[in-house]
Amino acid sequence: MRVLLEYMIGGRVRFISHLDFMRAMQRTIRRAGIPIAYSEGFNPHPRLSFGLPLPVGVTSSAEYMDIILDGPMDTEEVRLRLNTHLPKGIVVTAAAEISPSAPSLMSLIRRADYRIILDTALPGLDSGIQLFLQQVEIPYDKPGKKGTSRINLRDSVFSLEPGEDATKEFLVSLKAGDSGSVKPEIIAGKVLEFTGAEGTVDTGLSIHRTGLYMYKGGQWVTPMMLKEG
């Protein structure tokens, strides 16, 4: 059976890389005694796959992965067992059975939302946001495996708006899962640039992923909508 998991990552654990996270998850599944299936072949590996890697240093309230089990186990049992054995800072918030034939999470997730919080208040933040939104073209050389490629940052942004405290916080909704996607800190950097406070704001910021979405039936929904029945 195929089980979709939704989980949060918070606290110090945000500093682990995606590879670190995969290892931790595999070991957690083993400790929890969940009957994970293994791939065939010379070097079998546990069958689990992830939505969108979380950048190092970013916290999240909704990440997704799915695992294939060899035998049946109640999805709530899976969730509880994982939570008993997970390292501090990672919590599974939901588990649901999904169709074995559903496409991979990686291919479904098209949008990622972030809340970005500055360490210190910046009165010009709101105008920086407005200026960003007014642009038609914001060129950016995106690093890739074969050198950089020039993209338009403006195209990567679905929406951008001030948060509760408009001098410290803003919300951004980004394209995800295709070649036009960019890291949230790149957008944050540009916004800060547009405030004109560039250079003076080495303040540091915290980035929190608030959600990942797929586009289904003409609307943005979370991958939990893949749940059967």
């Binding site: 606290g11 110090r12 654990v13 500093f15 682990i16 890389s17 590879l19 670190d20 996270f21 290892r23 931790a24 595999q26 070991r27 957690t28 599944i29 083993r30 400790r31 293994y38 070097n43 079998p44 190092v56 240093g57 054995h85 997970l86 390292p87 501090k88 800072g89 360490d119 540091g204």
Partner: protein, 611 residues
Amino acid sequence: MNKGQIDKIIGRVSKPVRYMGNEYNMVEKNPASVQIRFAFAFPDVYEIGMSHLGMKILYHLLNEREDTYCERVFAPWPDMEARMREADLPLFALETRDPVSEFDFVGFTLQYELSYTNVLNMLDLARIPLLARDRTLDDPFVIAGGPCAYNCEPLADFLDLVALGEGEELIEDLLDAYREWKADGGDRDAFLLKAAQIPGIYVPKFYDVEYMDNGQVKAVKPNRAGIPDRVQKRVVKDLDRVYFPDKIIVPFMDIVHDRIMLEIFRGCTKGCRFCQAGMIYRPVRERSLETLLDLADKLIKNTGYEEMSLSSLSTGDYSRLEDLVRDLMARHSSERVSLSLPSLRLDSFAKEYIEQVQRVKKTGLTFAPEAGTQRLRDVINKGITREDLRRSLTDAFGSGWSNVKLYFMIGLPTETDEDLKGIADLANMAIDCYYGIEKDKREKGLKITVSTSSFVPKPFTPFQWEPQDTIDRLREKQHMLQKLLKLKHVEYNWHDPETSFLEAVLARGDRRIGQVLFTAWQNGARFDSWAEYFSLDRWIDAFAGCGLDPAFYAHRKRSRDEVLPWDHIDTGVTKAFLWNEYMKALNEETTPDCRLGCTGCGVRRLGEGLC
């Protein structure tokens, strides 16, 4: 200090996970509820330190004590160090992030000489006075253990205490004494005097070193009453009764040895004459099969690790290895736990084990003949023949391996060009073994990796009197091997002779080397075991600045009657035995494995029934 600042800093350095803590099985305690705070310090980066078995044992052992909270600290990588210094952030422990200067003890494990400058750097980052004599009641006691502690004279001025031998029992005695001292009140010396009464504890400041005009040590003598003339190492008698953790920290990071290490025995009976571990960890004591199977069950369950290795100096010598491997595989292969057998010596290698291990996952195979000819293997007492190696390689290739590594040392005592040619000869033999297997029965893609390290004479070994080859001479030998090993399917790797030279100086250094360490550190030396940070020039300058000649330590042949800087330390093995082994080496005479009969090394003095 604002602890929130730490997250900001580690968010900007490479691999922040090194400084993060919070791994599964990390111990959490309320520091206010304990009497003793112990910082276990590893003077290298996280992924190296976390791979060390001794740290895992002592960390969990100390945390079993209700009165103690043991936390971990590693050497910050240079980018992190720069950020810490810039932000004025003192060295902190991973668990609570409290500054280690607030702890009662900072305990360094000394696994290799080239980590010494990191010890100084960590003390400095912690804002603990570098010199033991400058520390006050507000400072922690700085203690060191591990193999390099046996001759830690180069670090003597920086250490309050040194723990010799196995730590499990010794550390309990030490912490008990500390609590008594704390209750009684008293100055630092009062505690050190009390500690010096504990077998295995060496307090360097209670010993004076006199030198002769020629620079050799004249004598090392206690400078106050009640201090033993010699300090004898501690050994644990029964490995089935001594503590071994049934859960260990599971790092997020891909550390160097990222697996369960099941320690099957301590000590080694082989008697290889270059090998310090083989001498200082005597005698051999095994864990029983039952204890090991039980530990393996618990460790697998409590960690979720997918790989386990059997750890010892010579795994092939474990008396019930076949049963152990078979039982471990029977119990855990369905859970897809793979078993790797490191330091497997070919003399005890059996085809069956290869196949057992292969059942789950194929891991690399390494053989260590150490020297190219039988003559030189006799000199070093490495009891492996060409025929042993031929059989093992044939077995390996016949069982589906096509990738093997052969390890050798160059610069061994009495070595000639013939011995170097012998290395190439064995590489050729390996090729022949491979092609001796029928084509459809062997794996494709033969690759033989020959690696040479440079011999470093170590204290407490039969070669402690020997000069090391000069850097130039080692380079010549490497060039010769480069030519000899230009063979199809063979890759040759060699070790940088400059770091081996420094290792030789520090390994047999005396207390005067402390100044050199200090100077080199001040001039920027740290992470000397990392090629990108090592600079021989910096060390040469430091020696010159201190008026010392490194060749005196590395390239000088010592005489039988010379007082060695470490003679006041007793590992159990006598100097007379070592000298006798040295003479036999020069005569190309071997000494049999002491399981076949006692060879009189002296370690029996350490306790009845030990071996």
